[in-house]
Symmetry: C2
Subunit: 348 residues, 2 copies
């Protein structure tokens, strides 16, 4: 297993190092190569993602990213020049974001019920296509456009993936989240494709929710969601909300997948580089460890993936929530749990 | 005071009738004219918003709308043909949505803190402009576009309104919610205009939040928000979430304002027509009563507006939350409170 690692900025290197510690317990012979990308590289060289680095990244089985970003870099530079560029260049069309409320974790909801959902967010089109512009800049008559681009090809591969996942889950339920009553054209395309693909999955029940209503359900009745499939921007919004109601972005993992397997997929915690707490050994590496579990699952190492997830679940259920320990202490605990195989298997 | 009333479908007529009862206590001589628009009119005549009706509506001081919609009408027809058409034709550029957690109301958050925000949502442009289309429909190569249109003119008038409101509130704080790191062009225009207008309001402190992060704050730290100014689509999403965390859309009021005063503004509860509970005298008219309070405030009847809001606050603090009473009982209670002027004034 050849992994490219992008530790990044802020707490990125710290959480990645713990995640690799845990990975070492299940895949001792993984080869890792580290790539220096992010705010510090941009400051020192002006480079965001050199072609040569992109080429090297593409030769790995998967990529693990910590976090990039720093207040010293103008907003948008790293996002568009590095993070989104990776998603587009490596055709990461499925942005996979599980949202599970683990026992022992106290989220912001008074009565959350059971939460166990997976959001399949489209990753390479919609309003993220970078298509738009300014006219008559800096005048009274300035106009800015942003064009959401949606293709049958792009939507179908993501919707198919979401149905496949729903079909493998006990509840076999899929919700399309969109805003079809206003975004008539893209809404029509998404709806028709969901309807078409649903014919191949007669056992999967299908629901629809407008994105505004979905945010209400996310806080009043999140248990209703099993698999959600949605557009790039709506997915961006509701996965942050899903992370919040399941205990915060400190626990949320994500995968940027090229389902075709042509390019390596990339795994990363949903949280950012948190420069305010960097270097203090206080960041929680759990989301990055869970991202490694997603990575292993994607590479077919199902058993190893489950062992890591079960260890995390066990640790979350038993840790002192108020003071879960230092970054390295949590990493050590998780590594020990994984190696001892002590954590009970999750009920599937 | 000449009011046009659109009772609409489902519970619309029921909640509107209670709201007018309450209005009658503070403005006994209001002239109201009822307009039959919505699902039932569309079914019987195929009409959504005839030009003649639009012309008549435009001659009133304000419009009160209950709710329109029915499952028998295909999604999008009434939204685009009636609701959004009214907003566009009457230039309702400020979509005003207060989000306040009243004492006594139990929302979904375990520890909400004090919530008292106002969202100023742009109402006439952005992705709602209806600009987009389909190419190669029903083929493998189909493409759908949606164009977000953003003008300096359109943004400035909304941002100015938001600053004016922030400047009049005790905390004098304004948050721009957008997605500037991805939506480069519209994000740049919104950011520059907020910066420009902020120079006229040196006492208002300004913050920025990406829309995804804003949904997190809305459930983990909603007290941070005072006035939010945002784009049409982001506003649609976060106001539903704000309504959810302040006790549900059953309590959320809204105003669609033409700040210039050229056209009548329209006031409506955020909730829909709820056909499942229509005709049973069980719908809570509180959101519609609060919409009347917004209406009066907009027409300069500040004292009457405050009396209604104080009565609602008093009733919410003292009502049996589990069984607040029938639609008419709640209306009667609120009307009595307003007329007796018994409710204590809210601390301002
Ligand atoms: C950093 C930003 C470009 C990114 C996005 O909008 O997709 C982030 O919010 C995410 O969800 O991964
Ligand atoms: C009904 C729909 C068109 C509308 C919107 O999207 O604006 C609604 O959700 C709202 O928030 O008023």
């Amino acid at each position: 297993m050849r992994l490219a690692v992008i530790p990044g900025d802020g707490i990125g290197p710290e959480v990645v190092s713990e995640a690799l510690k845990v990975l070492g317990e299940v895949v001792p012979n993984a080869e890792t190569t580290s790539y220096d990308l992010g705010a510090s590289r941009w400051h020192s060289t002006g480079e965001l993602l050199p072609e040569s680095v992109l080429g090297e990244l593409a030769e790995h089985d998967a990529i693990l990213l910590g976090a990039v970003g720093d207040p010293s870099v103008p907003s948008g530079i790293l996002e568009r020049g590095l993070l989104l560029r990776l998603r587009f260049e490596l055709d990461h069309h499925v942005n996979l974001r599980p949202g599970r409320l683990y026992p022992g974790v106290q989220g912001p909801l008074a009565d959350p019920g059971e939460i166990d959902m997976v959001v399949v967010r489209e990753g390479t089109e919609g309003p993220y296509a970078g298509n738009g512009g300014l006219l008559r800049k800096d005048t009274e008559h300035e106009i800015a456009t942003e064009v959401s681009l949606n293709t049958a090809f792009g939507i179908r591969r993501v919707v198919s993936d979401a149905f496949r996942r729903a079909n493998e889950r006990p509840r076999k339920h899929l919700t399309l989240v969109h805003k079809t009553n206003v975004l008539e054209h893209s809404g029509s395309l998404w709806s028709r494709i969901v309807e078409e693909v649903s014919l191949e999955y007669p056992e999967v029940s299908v629901a629809y929710s407008h994105v505004d209503a979905a945010t209400i359900h996310m806080v009043t009745d999140p248990s209703r969601f099993d698999v959600i499939v949605t557009d790039n921007l709506f997915g961006d919004i509701i996965t942050d909300l899903a992370a919040a109601v399941t205990g915060g972005i400190g626990l949320a993992a994500s995968g940027n997948l090229d389902i075709s397997g042509r390019n390596p997929s990339m795994f990363e915690p949903v949280h950012g580089s948190a420069p305010d707490i960097a270097g203090q050994n206080v960041a929680d590496p759990t989301a990055t460890v869970l991202s490694v579990s997603l990575l292993l699952d994607h590479l077919g190492e199902k058993e190893a993936a489950r062992r890591i997830e079960a260890s995390v679940a066990f640790d979350l259920a038993t840790r002192d929530q108020a003071s879960p320990g230092t970054t390295t202490a949590i990493g050590d605990r998780l590594a020990a749990l994984v190696s001892s195989n002590a954590a009970p298997r999750p009920a599937l």
